[in-house]
Symmetry: C2
Subunit: 137 residues, 2 copies
């Protein structure tokens, strides 16, 4: 399929797809007239890209995944391993989220700080309240 249709199906712009091609996120052959021609599964791939991006993965990271997918031997085992690896990354992200959630929950329950404090009572001593300024070399 050509770039316009791919863009429409993936809910993005032709400009974005050309940009993605430039950074190695999608690849297609060329028709005799020079037009790009993408395989249909690129639509799925672009949906995946969008999602992964929203979840905080950079285009570079996603492109790396794509390469791994391309390079992986056709065995189901290799693919499964790759996916499991990605799942592990996702689990790590989820753990981070869970940690923040716990933190916020705790604050919501107690009185929590985080606020600039209404009355200003603390100007602080002029020098080193904390002794942890190592002085960088």
């Amino acid at each position: 399929m050509r770039i316009g249709e791919l863009a429409a199906r993936a809910g993005t712009s032709t400009d974005t797809i050309r940009f993605y091609e430039k950074v190695g996120l999608v690849a297609g052959r060329r028709l005799p007239n020079g037009y790009r021609d993408f395989p249909p599964e690129t639509v799925e791939w672009l949906h995946y890209v969008r999602t992964a991006q929203l979840l905080g993965f950079s285009l570079a990271e996603i492109a790396r995944t794509g390469e791994q997918l391309r390079d992986a031997p056709d065995t189901a085992a290799a693919l499964s391993a790759l996916f499991r690896e990605k799942i592990a990354v996702i689990d790590a992200r989820m753990a981070e989220l869970a940690a923040l959630r716990d933190d916020l929950t705790a604050r919501a329950d107690t009185g929590c700080p985080l606020r600039p404090a209404s009355p200003e009572g603390n100007t602080g001593p002029r020098r080193a309240t904390v002794s942890s300024s190592p002085g960088r070399p």
Copy 2:
């Protein structure tokens, strides 16, 4: 506390903190000599900023949260509400992650697409395979 100590405690750089001040993410008074002086809870706040950022919130969004916090009446209720709101966002993110995870799991189990496919069988018809190109005005 001055900017250097704040940076060290928050695990960031003085440059970043000055930048954050410029965009309204942190605020501090000035000492007579012109040095910035931040209240101690700014450390906590910066930790929150870092985490929220990792979760995909922009600095502008986070700054808005900060304003809401400042404007909120002193009631712990307002804070709790704000945090609960954030928690809801986090839960949504986690659900998305879980969905992506399931998707990957399914692909790992089955044969999945997403890959460019070895043999190229589909060049596609020359014009509009899909009728969803509205043609923009």
